[in-house]
Symmetry: C2
Subunit: 364 residues, 2 copies
Amino acid sequence: MTPGGPAPVPRAGAGGPVLAVVGATGAAGAVMLEILSQHADIWGEIRLVASARSAGRRLAVRGEECEVLALREEVFDGVDIALFDVPEEVAARWVPVAAAKGVVCVDNSGAFRRDPEVPLVVPEVNADAVRTRPRGIVASPNCATLSMVVALGALHEAFVLRELSLSSYQAASGLGRAGLSALREQLAAVVADPDLGTRSGDVRRAVGGAGPFPAPLALNVVPWAGTPEADGWSSEELTVREQTRRVLGLPELPVAVTCVRVPVLTAHSLAVHARFEREVTVARAHEVLAGAPGVVLVDSPADGEFPTPADAVGTDPAWVGRVRRSLDDASALEFFVCGDNLRKGAALNAVQIAELVAGERTAP
Amino acid sequence: MTPGGPAPVPRAGAGGPVLAVVGATGAAGAVMLEILSQHADIWGEIRLVASARSAGRRLAVRGEECEVLALREEVFDGVDIALFDVPEEVAARWVPVAAAKGVVCVDNSGAFRRDPEVPLVVPEVNADAVRTRPRGIVASPNCATLSMVVALGALHEAFVLRELSLSSYQAASGLGRAGLSALREQLAAVVADPDLGTRSGDVRRAVGGAGPFPAPLALNVVPWAGTPEADGWSSEELTVREQTRRVLGLPELPVAVTCVRVPVLTAHSLAVHARFEREVTVARAHEVLAGAPGVVLVDSPADGEFPTPADAVGTDPAWVGRVRRSLDDASALEFFVCGDNLRKGAALNAVQIAELVAGERTAP
């Protein structure tokens, strides 16, 4: 990495592909810039883009300050690849604009995840899918799906997945900066409340409004994420189900999901019950997970070693532990997985996809 | 209820059975006294017992103050039924002492739950089992099992249960007063920490020690409860599995469990995936749950109505909601259940068992 300098001079990587980061000033955008500064520098120019409101701000990437440009059509001139981390409606409008200019667009929103002509890619699991992108768009999965599917992909390759039952423990930052600040405010309120006991409604009274959550999150768990869908399901649950099937290439996989928000700032966790075609052993599952890219195995509970969101936050891999073989079925495993929903769950996976696409240019 | 008076005068219920509450000064003991004061007064004397350390304290029950007696053999003279809420090793020693004196003992600890000669009873589900107690002992199930099994019992009767997959969201008070105060201290520490960000280890640094938990609980979830058992299982997970089977009378039921502690003071929650022999519909499941004793149905997520521990705490029933039929299996249901682990999960269930036993005396 070169040290920071005042002028936006051409980079060591000049001649490399030009990357635009759209949504550079958001929560996941900030993490993207951090990751781009840490990874091998393959990019020529990196262009930062955000809403007109944020234009003119200067942000550091690769050790140098860059001015944030306002999102408009011309900003994509000369761009090879664009990372989008913007609200769904903004992506729905602007991704096709960039794609029409020949820019390969990597989108982190839900706008294109269900489009059969848009591949949904997790590089550790289905890297090849990135090559078939008739619309010039590649989607990155929802944050609740991501860490889990990296571990599942490795286990599926070894044992052949047949059925899934999932319960999530999702962090406040799944709702962005608004989720983070609401949880911090609610925690401050309950800590400051001298009358907070363990009576029904105590927490509701102490925190006042629930913020962006459908119920208070401090000292609580909220079994709801997303918007209402048919038959009692939440959009988040259907999303996790559908995206897990797509990324694993198992369109008929039975997937039962309950999505629950917990009072954690960042890093989602999932408890997974997975039934396979082949018999499993914990030893073989450990071997598979220990050798899987993007996975770190943390599984010695007697020594206090298991994955927790407080440890996984701020790190890249999926932390996997509590691996057990079902006591009733020699082909089923239980495990617990944690991953940073802003890194692998959003920014990192998108950057990895962009790196895959960039790699095509130099591949034979 | 009679108003409080200074002297331990004979009660309106004199002539009723004599009840001893052993562990009256503990977290669940305090809730027992509250419940005994609220329920129909069927008891003659209520005798409060605790360790020698707490003897001599005066506690209110049924609106009058009683002196706490030190636990020793003579304290059981003339007692008909004794409720024990004491640590497992204390129960293992003293329950047989009381039982040898002809006292029917209701034990809340794990000391006798695996004894085939000790029935494990949840009155809403298997009240009849209380009658067969060759050792004079009845056990009350573990708090993580209790609320869930009340709802499951009703659904089993309607649809015939075939398989379970469970993930828990367990409160700090599962570890008693130590758990409660540790979580409060940890929350105060993270709220007061000006440097608390979302980096790995931030929470560990802010809270210092983890207290009685195997990892910090504030702003975290901890996928571990209990002690290590073979093959990676926790004692809590095996307990939930075994007790669910016993209470439902389904010794071969496949049960997959992951137990996770969450930063909630009191009230456990579980996400349940249940497969039945018969086809299910959400409408019929709602009907069954709405009519089930000890269950309150809270299931209108579009209106923000679903069970949360912050609402269930301090109340008696199991709160059930998020009822969905599996999208892949017309015989499977998902639901979410919350219950106060100190009330139904401990004190209330034990009092209900004692009331069942007392009722035998007047039954034909």
